[in-house]
């Protein structure tokens, strides 16, 4: 199975976890990465420009209707939900979901609705339950699910809730997530 999109959600502690994950991915990575990191609604592009320092993959703050390209990293902008259509992203300013905009649930649900079993859902450190419902839908549609091992998470609330609610495919220490993604995507189609 060729994975085309990796949808990642995280809140508290996410910046450092994303740094670890992104810097372990090779520049020839074959799938697109879409990331929701909970953030303040007036925060600027500092997050993506900070993380760009740790990866050779191009990092974007998504603009509406931006095309999804393999090997690119896409961040949900502050105060917008990030939704996946077939081949491109859409944004919305619909009401917050689980008090969050951007919401991880919204990204994961829309990603798996379009890409079905060709998407990998990843939940990292987080201090609330946003993302659990999305991971459940993603799994139900045949997608691959990965959750950061709670004992390696700065905030274990989200990983623990996800493991309790979903029959997760992989529960991995933070350092093992990038190698697993490389394996899953690299092996695809070979």
């Amino acid at each position: 199975m060729a994975y085309e999109l990796i949808a990642i959600g995280t809140s508290l502690g996410g910046l450092s976890a994303l740094k670890t994950l992104l810097r372990s991915l090779p520049t020839a990575f074959p799938a697109a990465l879409a990331i929701v990191q909970h953030r303040h609604k007036e925060s600027d592009q500092g997050l993506s420009s900070f993380l760009q320092k740790f990866t050779g993959l191009p990092v974007h703050e998504v603009e509406d209707k931006e095309r999804i390209q393999p090997g690119h990293v896409y961040f949900a902008p502050a105060d917008y939900h990030l939704l996946v259509e077939y081949g491109y992203f859409s944004l919305s300013v619909d009401e917050p979901v689980s008090y969050a905009r951007p919401s991880i649930d919204v990204l994961l649900e829309s990603a798996s609705d379009v890409y079905n079993e060709r998407v990998i859902g990843v939940l990292l450190t987080g201090a609330n339950h946003d993302g659990v419902q999305g991971l459940r839908s993603l799994k139900a549609r045949g997608g691959m699910t990965i959750v950061q091992a709670p004992d390696t998470a700065e905030s274990p609330i989200l990983p623990e809730a996800a493991i309790a609610a979903v029959n997760v495919d992989w529960v991995l220490p933070l350092n093992d997530i990038a190698p697993r993604l490389i394996h899953l995507c690299g092996a695809a189609g070979v």
């Binding site: 603009e63 509406d64 209707k65 902008p77 939704l83 259509e85 859409s90 919305s92 300013v93 649900e109």
Partner: protein, 298 residues
């Protein structure tokens, strides 16, 4: 009746075929066909046209409407909506988004003061079209900004929305008092030059905007999907509305905007919206790139 139904089905099938030819996905999933039929039904029965809305967010709103109505499936909603006008009207409201605030995205107003106001000063009179104005907060914010720049008496602002209920609120200019604290902070961040409380009077739990702010504003119903141009404008502001449309509809609306702007007219979009992925990419220059203020080339 039978003929009409058959016609509907035929039209719907045509559209499904079109989607396939457009190369989106192989075969539509049953859920997506349900959504598709609902949207077609809403159009053929009542003329409400959501057919070219962005699918992912539209689908989310339909499902959250289902939960609110305690219905178990989209076909059930379709059956009810076709026969019950009140249900269709509730659905219409559920499908429209009205997230707004005074001086939303304060840096946009700062850029507007710095980059657009000097251009507006050169006109003896100018027209602004605020398309998709919702409950009016951002229109009044513009009125305040122009007042502080000494330009308000020289302009006419046309504020439009497809939804007459939100326009009623917009016309009144009365907002919950508890929002004023947030609006005051945004006003200050947006480069406000006075005291925000000068612009409203408190009345029980409401803040009533001062009537002079309404003097140069004309509120009216206008549907970006179905209605055409109605004037020539120096500035068009349309923020966080087009994100709900697919690319075909965005191109259609950008054509309308382009044809409604005067030479060197200004177009202002939402923070994460862009002219880049539309057919009109080369028709504008950046005026304030990060704030999505564009200037029509010629």
């Amino acid at each position: 009746m039978g003929f009409r139904l058959n016609l509907c089905i035929a039209l719907t099938l045509l559209t499904v075929v079109r989607i396939h030819c457009a190369g989106s996905v192989g075969i539509l999933k049953p859920d997506d066909v349900d959504i598709h039929l609902l949207i077609e039904g809403l159009y053929h029965r009542y003329g409400y046209d959501f057919r070219n809305y962005a699918k992912a967010s539209l689908k989310r709103r339909i499902y959250s409407f289902l939960r609110a109505e305690h219905l178990s499936s989209v076909p059930e909603l379709q059956a009810q909506m076709l026969r019950d006008r009140a249900c269709a009207d509730r659905l219409l409201l559920g499908l429209t988004v009205n997230t707004t605030a005074m001086f939303r995205d304060p840096t946009f107003y700062i850029a507007f003061r710095q980059q657009v106001v000097p251009l507006l000063r050169t006109y003896p009179f100018f027209r602004i079209w605020h398309a998709g104005c919702s409950t009016g907060q951002e229109v009044y914010s513009m009125a305040i900004l122009l007042q502080e720049e000494g330009l308000y008496h020289r302009c006419r602002i046309y504020a439009t929305d497809a939804n007459d209920r939100v326009l009623q609120t917009a016309r009144q200019g009365i907002y919950p008092y508890k929002q004023m604290q947030e609006y005051t902070q945004l006003y200050l961040k947006a480069g406000g030059q006075r005291t925000f409380s000068e612009y409203y009077t408190a009345h029980y739990n409401n803040a009533i905007l001062r009537p002079f702010l309404r003097e140069r504003i004309v509120f009216g119903e206008h549907n970006l999907v179905t209605d055409g141009s109605f004037n020539e404008f120096n500035v068009i502001i349309c923020r966080n509305v087009l994100i709900y449309f697919n690319q075909a509809l965005q191109n259609q609306v950008h054509e309308l905007f382009y044809n409604s702007l005067c030479k060197f007219g200004i177009l202002g979009l939402g923070k994460q919206e862009t002219i880049r992925f539309t057919k009109y990419e080369t028709a504008y220059d950046d005026l304030a790139k990060a704030e999505k203020l564009y200037r029509r080339r010629s």
